[in-house]
Structures are given as structure tokens and as C-alpha cells.
Symmetry: C2
Subunit: 175 residues, 2 copies
Amino acid sequence: MVRRSQTEVAVLGALSVAPMTGYAAREAIRDVLGHFWSESFGQIYPTLAELERVGHIRRQESMAYELTDSGRTRLRELLAEPAQRTPPRNGLLLRLFFGRQLGPEACRDLILAARTEAEESLSRYAFLRAEVAAEDSPDTPYSLLTISAGEHAARATLAWADESLTALNRLEDPR
Amino acid sequence: MVRRSQTEVAVLGALSVAPMTGYAAREAIRDVLGHFWSESFGQIYPTLAELERVGHIRRQESMAYELTDSGRTRLRELLAEPAQRTPPRNGLLLRLFFGRQLGPEACRDLILAARTEAEESLSRYAFLRAEVAAEDSPDTPYSLLTISAGEHAARATLAWADESLTALNRLEDPR
DNA sequence: GCCAGATATATCTAACAGATAGCACAGGTC
DNA sequence: GACCTGTGCTATCTGTTAGATATATCTGGC
């Protein structure tokens, strides 16, 4: 089985919204897709070069890249492919699994940090949601779907963290 | 900032449970940590060689590697380091974000597939939970923490999927 | 003895993250 | 006007990682 680069989808997707430079694409991906996707320069520039080579994108006079017709078709093709899931790598859970070696206090700190992060995510999502809802474009419902996914995940983390902190306390001080 | 290989933690962690070969370590990581961590052979073997070189592990007569004292110390050190989070890459949400290009039916199929996967995860977690609880070792509470995290995440996915399917239906057939 | 499948060890390629570096241009600040 | 600083922008390099693949060995069934 051939591994496909996922970067192509993100880059073509970004350019489908508006023509932009590689730098701007990275900014857009970070700011708009940031809560569920990320790209690095090291991936973006080679991908842009390759996409230009095969004619899916083209440079405007302003240095910005724009999607060609074949690029638009290509994006639809790639979107229709089944989403390949990235293998899980959760450093927090890896540490908690070996938590006995680490001690309950350190574990509690780890969980508290995750809890704080989830709360920050939630307020960021609230902001994003308001921003997106205000636009009211045909893309809005789909954006809201991804924001909602983030909110559900963050709330799940909060609930898990509280439950886990209770469990850890019981472990240290069993009644 | 220096990037640290996370593989070291997982490999030392696996060997801290019992001495084993590289192959067995991979199996153990997949079966026991599989729902939140993954390693490939391409990572495991070079890591084992390096760990042996610096004396954190040593080969038994049986070809299995075992942790040395310095390896055990090293594991504690690594566990104490803050968990570095991996950048998000969610192929499902990436596709849904550009869902208008894809059409509501295809989006619904994507969400349904995610929903099914979450349900399968939940039943796997139920099985795991029973298995781990039956052991009742000092490590059990920590294992349960990671299983609980998986369950919360899977239930969040279910709730999100149902909500999203409703939203998509309303989009196609607004009353 | 022979085959199939599991066990086991490795290696190679490509995907990817993140650091770094360089350049142009803008806006101060002395 | 010289100098500094920030930022927009285009890269490139290194190390990490995933996953495919090659190749034995060992074991049980036929």
C-alpha cells in the first residue's frame, strides 16, 4: 500500500479558499484548521513546488499561488479518499500508564495541566464559533462541525480529568 | 529546543514490565498501549541498539533485553519530563471542513464510519477494563486511568457524530 | 520431509516537525 | 542618515517517525 501525503489535501484546500503565498498558507492552516490540523514549512514548500510542476496550482504575478482547474478536480478526488488515521501518540497517557514509577503527585500535576489546557481550548472554541457563525457562508455549517468536534473532545477531557483526580486522591488516602 | 525521541520512553517502559525481545516489545506496545501509543519496528530496533550501547539495557542469554539499573533510572527521568504533545492531524475533520466540495451524503458516510469506529472502541475498552481490573496489581489504577481516557473520548465522538448527523440532515432538508 | 504461519531481526523510503537561516522591507529611534 | 527591530517570506537541514519489505528461524500439521 502506498502512503499518501496528507499535506497535499491541506495545501490545495487552503488555496481553494483564496490564492496565497506559502507563508500565508501556513498561517491560514494554523489559524483556521489549527485545532485539528497542522503543517510545517518543511512540508509546505516542497508540496507547492510539486503541485506547480504537475499543474495543479500556478503562480500569480503577485507571487501568490492560485488553484488551476485540474487542482480543483484533484482536491475533490483527494477529499473523496477515505481519511487515513494517524497512529495515536499521547505523551500524557504514556506517562500515566507508568504512573506508579512517577508517583501520585506528579501524575496529579500532569492531569491538572491537561485540564487547564482543555479549558483554554474551550474558550478558544467559543470565540471561534462566534466568529464563524457571524460569517454565515455556505461553508459555515461545515466549519461548525469541526468546532463542535473540538468542544466535545475538550469537555470529555475535563470530565476525565476530574474523575481521574478523584481516583488518584482515593488511591493516596483510601477510606 | 532539542527534540527528544519519545520511542525511548515506550521501549524502556515495556522492558520495565518484563524482559523481552524487540518483536515482543512491539507486540506488547500494540496490545497494551495500543489505544494511546504506537511504535514501528523501524523505531524500535535502532532504539534498542542505542539503549544497549549506552548501557540502559542488556541482552539476556535468551536474546531478550532486560533493563539495567541505569535504564530504570533513565525511565524515571524521561517520565518526569513534560509530555510533549504531537501536532493534531485529523483526516476526518480535514475532509469535513471542506465538506461543501464533497457533498452532504459523503460527509454523512464519513461521520457514520467514525461513529462505528467509536462504538467498536467502546466495546474494546469494556473488555480491556475487565481484563485489567481482574489483575489487581499496583499498576492497575494507572492502567484504568488510560482506559477511562479512551472511553471518555469515544463517548464524546459518539455524541458529536449524532449531533452532526442531525445538523447535516437539517442542512439538506431545512424545515 | 514439506509447507504454512508465527516469531524475530533488520533495513529502506518517504512523510513529517521543527529549528534555522537568509533576505527584503517597513517603522521607529538616536 | 545610520542603526535596530520586527515581520513577511522563501527556503533548507536534521532528526523523528510510519510503514513496507526482505529474510531468516522455529513450530506444528500433513
